[in-house]
């Protein structure tokens, strides 16, 4: 452990750190496979040796060693229906790992009209012949070689970096269909490596695409098929050190390739955290967060990425852009950070970031509240926001999601009850007068010192009571948060049985929340029917963030595609319609997923002609030859 200047016995600290580890990485269990860790190559240019990070980085250069090539997450973790037809989650990493989930089959078959007999397994192996040969810029390759920066044009490496996690991307991989992929991957291990690569790319007119954790859900990582130059994926995963921690100012200076779980774990070892926890934090990177304007679930305490960064260093074709000091706020014209944040890899590579850190919270507590209906739930969240007393996280799930959450309850007793029966029994006995087809649940996460947490908890539950909400226990709350970490795994399970789905988000003023939820959900159902989907889709939503002036809303949408010849196209049409509906109802184009290429068509309407012109002129100045040619955003 590096500097430890603040008070408090170190065993105390360690205790907290351990508890903390259990909680945020609560899904992690058992040691991470030691072999898979690749030591970061020593960055010769790095003068000072203040690297405070310890061993145990998650992401190896060869991602395929631990991750799926055609699905979400770790290779060893996945949902499946076992021989008895029961759902189970494999592996040892997560809380749910190794458990049976008895209710899932019923829910799955009931909700989607799916059938375990009707399987759609993916292509098992990536065949190299399916991958288009690399178009290499020999001169560029030669010069990169001479710098000693690792690179590869292995087919697997390239395919891994050709996609994010949009449905159409994963679906194509499962079918073994590979489109345009990068021609080469480079792994810089520090800022100076990046400077060199960018210089060479400019010199040889090579297209660079920064790659962080690969969790993009906006088609941002898709290679533009029309790109004729050699495309080089710049994988930042090996730039993953915490360079220093400044306990006086509570900041940490971190390389941009570090993924969320490593950043938190390493800071925790020093008793700190950033508190930035996007649902993808296991795999998404700091640079990715900056590049997409990410949002973490605990933003109520810690803020979104734009509130967290103090200083950013980015390498562009015109040189390095950064501020000269770390003042907490400046009046120096428009904030140049705001050109960088959300630039989606179109202007340069974020290499280092100074971020705010906080002492780890002493105490955490989950909670949940059941409301008789969604309207009451939203009214409660609004009131909580008005009183500015939102807990670290507060999320409201609609009835369908609530049922979904219940279906994911792992087995406790062996007595088998049908999912719905159990649900009804539970709620009729526990919440009298609540209709199991209307009630909805809010999950809560409180953080801070114990006393304040308990006080805060009471305040929130009191408000909830005014809206007919009844406390429903810590378990329900915790399960709710767990769900967000496994939902992407669940999508893979669905895809094994003809079910495809996706989530998308927006932000919207308070007075529009109910309207947008209702209308978008209805629109999805309507469009599915119109497009010939044979079964009613799952169309559900949740409110995941509260602000003074509005909220962030997530929609989940999935359907059984049996009988459709081009399910992905249908899916895309429905998502398109849903986005139009969002916009027509006063919702934003995106709260945090970004625009990428998926939502580009709406940019002009969203930010006006002049706005587009402004962004274009920045791009034209910073990158006149379109070296960062991923064509996102504009």
């Amino acid at each position: 452990m590096a500097s430890n200047s603040s008070g408090g016995g170190s065993s105390d600290r360690q205790g907290i750190a351990q508890q903390r580890l259990r909680i945020i990485a609560g899904h992690l269990r058992g040691p991470v496979d030691g072999d898979s860790t690749i030591l970061a190559a020593e960055c010769k240019a790095q003068g000072s040796n203040t690297d405070v990070s310890s061993e145990g980085k998650t992401v190896p250069r060869r991602r395929q060693e631990i991750m799926k090539w055609n699905g979400w997450g770790y290779s060893d973790s996945r949902f499946l229906f076992n021989k008895k037809g029961q759902a189970e989650f494999t592996g040892k990493r997560y809380r749910l790992s190794g458990m049976i989930i008895p209710g899932l089959k019923d829910w799955f078959e009931g909700t989607f009209g799916a059938n375990l007999q009707h399987k759609t397994p993916p292509t098992p192996l990536l065949t190299n012949t399916a991958v288009p040969p690399a178009t290499l810029n020999e001169a560029f390759v030669e010069e990169v070689k001479s710098t000693g920066i690792p690179f590869s044009h292995d087919a697997e490496d390239r395919v891994f970096r050709a996609h994010g996690h949009c449905l159409h991307e994963i679906f194509a991989l499962r079918e073994g269909k590979i489109g345009r992929v990068p021609d080469m991957v480079v792994w810089p291990s520090c800022h100076n490596d990046v400077v060199k690569i960018v210089q060479l790319a400019c010199k040889h007119n090579v297209c660079l695409m920064p790659y962080g954790g690969g969790t993009s859900v906006s088609s941002a990582l898709e290679c533009p098929p029309e790109e004729t130059r050699s495309i080089v994926s710049l994988d930042t995963s090996q730039m993953n050190r915490i360079l220093w921690i400044d306990e006086k100012n509570l900041t940490a200076h971190v390389e941009a390739g570090i993924v969320g779980q490593d950043l938190e774990r390493l800071l925790n070892e020093s008793g700190y955290c950033t508190g930035h926890e996007p649902d993808s934090m296991e795999f998404s990177s700091l640079g990715g967060w900056v590049a997409t304007r990410a949002s973490g679930m605990k933003k109520n305490i810690y803020g979104n990425i734009e509130d967290l960064v103090v200083h950013i260093k980015m390498v562009t074709p015109q040189g390095v852009i950064e501020k000269s000091c770390q003042g907490p706020r400046m009046s120096t014209g428009p904030d140049i950070h705001h050109f960088i944040m959300g630039s989606e890899g179109t202007l340069g590579v974020v290499t280092e970031v100074t971020m705010k850190i906080r002492p780890m919270p002493e105490y955490q507590k989950y909670g949940s509240v059941v409301f008789p209906n969604f309207e009451q739930g939203v009214a409660c969240l609004r009131e909580v926001a008005k009183q500015r007393c939102a807990p670290a996280s507060i999320r409201l799930m609609d009835n369908e999601q609530f049922k979904f959450g219940h279906a994911l309850k792992p087995q406790v007793s062996s007595i088998f009850t049908s999912f719905l029966d159990g649900l009804k029994k539970f709620y009729i006995t526990k919440f009298k007068g609540f209709d199991p087809n209307h009630l909805c649940v809010a999950t809560l996460l409180f953080e801070g010192n114990r006393e304040k947490v308990l006080q805060h908890e009471k305040q929130v539950y009191d408000i909830a009571a005014k809206f007919g909400g009844l406390a429903a226990g810590e378990d329900n709350g915790q399960r709710g948060y767990m769900l967000t970490f496994v939902i992407a795994y669940l999508r893979d399970l669905g895809m094994d049985y003809y079910v495809i789905g996706e989530s998308f988000e927006t932000s919207v003023p308070w007075d529009r929340v109910l309207d947008i939820c209702r209308n978008v959900k209805a629109r999805i159902i309507r469009e599915c029917k119109d497009k010939g989907v044979q079964f009613p889709p799952l169309s559900t939503c949740r409110v995941t963030q509260t602000y003074d002036a509005g909220a962030c809303v997530y929609f989940y949408f999935a359907f059984n595609y049996r009988g459709l010849s081009d399910p992905v196209h249908v899916y895309e049409q429905v998502e398109h319609a849903a986005r139009e509906e969002i916009l027509a109802n006063g919702g934003s184009l995106s709260h945090h997923h970004g625009v990428g290429k998926l939502r580009k068509e709406w940019m002009r309407d969203t930010i006006s002609n002049v706005g587009m012109g402004m962004l274009k002129s920045v791009k034209d100045y910073v990158d006149p030859n379109n070296i960062f040619g991923n064509r996102n955003l504009l």
Binding site: G110, L420, K529, F535, P536
Partner: protein
């Protein structure tokens, strides 16, 4: 069961839909599954498809059961309609307080208070009083009372009340899915009681109905109507922000929450002529607003076509149009109508049309993002985009009403007899036509009108002569049959025949009394105008155009269409479509040949063409006379108010002098429409002269319009669009 004969049904499509629905219904958790939603495309409102292929439902007579079972039991039966998404009905008091507490009203009250310097509480009181005056207080007991009374009344007045049950089923479904607006046509006071009566009969949720304040003159009746679901709005409240706000919030609150279907008359008032009236947009704007602002997913609008075989107010309307002042709607006046009870008014057909989804109407037409930047509760003037959208929708909906109006054989007879009446007049021939000649012509017209898509109820299993004579006998007040000849009942004036020694009937009085009959007949003929109006405009255009050149004909068509756009339902901006539709119909029926360059009348087309031009001729002549009046008379100080009496006098003189043959030109409706057209075209302007509403006439322009109507001047390029 009556069936709509001669209709090709596209059954295959239906079946496929059925199949798909099955799967959707099997959803778990009682997932609401929509049936029918796909039927509510905007295409269903009005399609340019071949009118002959129009599919229409069958009818069921609801009086049949009333004649065989107890009215009392019927009035007391269990009534449990299904509401929107299963909401429970809402007490009037709750509804009122929701309105008074709404954000919109709150905002307007504060605004009014600031602007006028009055205390906010004071303004709130006023708002509350407005709401009291306005709000319905639907009570089941009153509905049951009406159910009983009306059963008795309807059974004496009408032979049958025929309703398309499939339409009712669609309505039931629509009510459960989205808020519903009912838009019945308006030809009689009867309409809204009849609507509620039918809905009660079928156990459908009772609507709340927008009614004009004139009813409130009759205290008792007004309150009765209120308790049967009517709410009352002042006829004009132009700049009264507070009134508008209370009113619109009241309607929207009911609609949004799905407490009850909202019913109003798109035409604003009863049509005295049986022609559909230019739609009024105020209420339509209000009911579309919740959708446009995203407050509901969709609103279903259901056009309802109510066709009376014989209109109760028949001669009342004619008198009104002739300027015999309308008796104030007083309770005693209604009771005088008891005499009415002894007569036979034939049957009523009520057709509940396809529900129209406002969402589909707006698709691709309205950018709903325009409401993103101002809080939705702050009242704002609708944007031009919205205005034109609502206007177009209104026209489509009126056309949807027109399409499903049932035409009785008498409508054909009235048209033929009127034309014959005027032709004989001109030719100085013996009045009337031989019965068998009338029958032959009626059969011809039956076939023609079916080809043009009319929803004609001609009993196919009865011989044509029987059909004709039964039609004539029901309308014996308007026609006489003697010595095998049929003629309009105009020869003996209503105030006693010439044989009456005390009669001192002036020629003018005589003329007016004849006009009553002519106008009554014309109102029946008008029922089929919507079927023929486009072909008839084309026929007249061919007539007045200087050549057969397609462009010239189109120019004339466009001119006439423009001229008559207050007279008939012609969707704004649809000139080219209308022209194409007219060409299509006339070519298909073998009347015209249309080439790239020319429009040619075929040998056998002349008869149809003559029929069509004579149909429009009274209007053409009428508009010309109005023009002549404005050119010839001293109009220096003419005000809008004086216009009708003055032009009427002018027309009377023309008729008496034999310079004009169409007594129906005496209709103030036509005169007003003509003036509106001239104003629209800029030939007459309203100015603030000595008197407010002084009319400034551009004689040169009026003169040239008159000549163009008469075919004496070629259509000017400026008034026509390019084809």
């Amino acid at each position: 069961m009556l069936s709509s004969s001669g209709v090709v049904v596209d059954e295959e499509e239906e079946e496929q839909e059925e199949e798909q629905r099955g799967l959707w219904c099997s959803g778990p958790f009682g997932l609401t599954v929509f049936v029918n939603a796909d039927k509510m495309s905007s295409g269903a409102v009005y399609s340019h498809k071949d009118p002959m292929l129009k599919k229409r439902d069958d009818f069921e007579d609801i009086l049949e059961e009333r004649r065989t079972s107890s009215d009392l039991r019927y009035a007391l039966r269990c009534y449990t309609p299904v509401l929107y998404k299963g909401v429970t009905p809402c007490k009037t008091s709750v509804l009122k307080s929701m309105v008074l507490q709404s954000d919109q009203l709150h905002y307007v009250i504060n605004q009014v208070s600031k602007e006028s310097g009055r205390a906010a509480d004071d303004v709130r009181e006023e708002a509350s009083a407005i709401l009291e005056e306005m709000a319905h207080s639907l009570q089941l007991s009153t509905v049951r009372f009406f159910a009983f009374m009306l059963s008795k009344v309807f059974k004496t007045l009408f032979r049958s009340i025929c309703v398309n049950e499939e339409g009712i089923q669609r309505l039931q479904q629509a009510i459960q899915e989205h808020p519903v607006v009912l838009l019945p046509s308006h030809r009689s006071y009867m309409d809204f009681l009849l609507m509620s009566y039918i809905l009660y009969t079928y156990d459908v949720a009772l609507p709340v109905i927008a009614a004009g304040m004139d009813f409130m003159g009759m205290k008792f009746v007004g309150e009765m109507l209120r308790m049967s679901g009517a709410f009352f709005i002042r006829r004009s409240f132009g700049g009264d922000k507070l009134y508008w706000s209370v009113f619109s919030e009241y309607v929207k609150t009911m609609l949004k929450n799905g407490y009850a279907p909202v019913e109003f008359f798109l035409e604003g008032t009863r049509s005295r002529t049986s022609k559909s009236l230019t739609p009024k947009l105020g209420l339509l704007n209000i009911v579309m607003d919740p959708f446009l602002k995203g407050e509901v997913f969709d609103v279903n609008v259901v056009p309802v076509s109510i066709s009376y075989e014989r209109i109760l107010e028949e001669s009342l309307y004619a008198r009104e149009l002739l300027g015999v002042p309308k008796p104030k709607e007083s309770t005693s006046g209604l009771f005088k109508a008891r005499k009415v009870l002894s007569e036979d008014y034939g049957s009523i057909h009520v057709y509940f049309g396809q529900p129209v989804s406002v969402r589909s109407l707006a698709e691709g037409r309205v950018n709903r993002c325009q409401f993103n930047l101002v809080p939705r509760h702050i009242p704002r003037r609708p944007s031009e985009e919205i205005q034109s959208f609502v206007n177009d929708s209104a026209y489509r909906l009126v056309r949807a009403q027109e399409e499903n109006m049932v035409l009785k054989p008498w409508v054909l007879l009235a048209s033929l007899l009127l034309q014959n009446h005027h032709q004989n007049r001109a030719a100085g021939q013996k009045p009337g036509m031989a019965l068998d000649e009338l029958t032959t012509q009626a059969v011809w017209l039956r076939d023609v009108s079916r080809q043009y898509g009319a929803f004609l109820h001609w009993p196919d299993h009865t011989s044509p002569s029987e059909v004709v004579s039964s039609g004539l006998s029901l309308h014996r007040a308007l026609v006489r049959v003697c010595e095998g000849r049929v003629q309009l009942a105009v020869e003996q004036g209503e105030q006693g025949g010439p044989g009456d020694p005390r009669s001192t009937v002036t020629p003018e009085e005589e003329l007016l009394s004849q006009a009553v009959v002519v106008l009554s007949c014309a109102s029946y003929r008008n029922q089929m105008l919507h079927v023929f109006v486009r072909p008839a405009l084309l026929a007249s255009a061919i007539h007045i155009a200087s050549s057969n050149q397609k462009q010239e004909v189109f120019n004339s068509f466009s001119f006439l269409r423009n001229m008559f756009s207050s007279e008939f339902i012609l969707c704004p901006g649809a000139t080219v479509q209308d022209f194409e539709e007219a060409c299509y119909l006339l070519v298909k029926t073998g009347v015209l040949q249309v080439t790239q360059q020319e429009v040619l009348v075929t040998e056998r087309g002349h008869r149809t063409l003559a029929f069509l031009t004579s149909m429009l001729d009274p209007f053409l002549q009428g508009y010309q006379v109005v023009c002549r009046f404005l050119c010839e008379e001293d109009t220096e100080t003419l005000t809008e108010k004086q216009f009708i009496p003055a032009v009427r006098k002018f027309i009377v003189n023309h008729l008496l002098a034999g310079r004009l043959r169409y007594a129906e030109v005496l209709s103030s409706d036509l005169q007003k429409n003509a003036l509106a057209a001239l104003q629209r075209l800029g030939a007459v302007r309203k100015i603030k002269g000595v008197e407010p509403g002084t009319l400034k006439v551009n004689r040169v322009m009026v003169n040239s319009l008159e000549d163009t109507l008469g075919g004496k001047l070629p259509t000017q390029k400026s008034v026509s669009a390019r084809l």
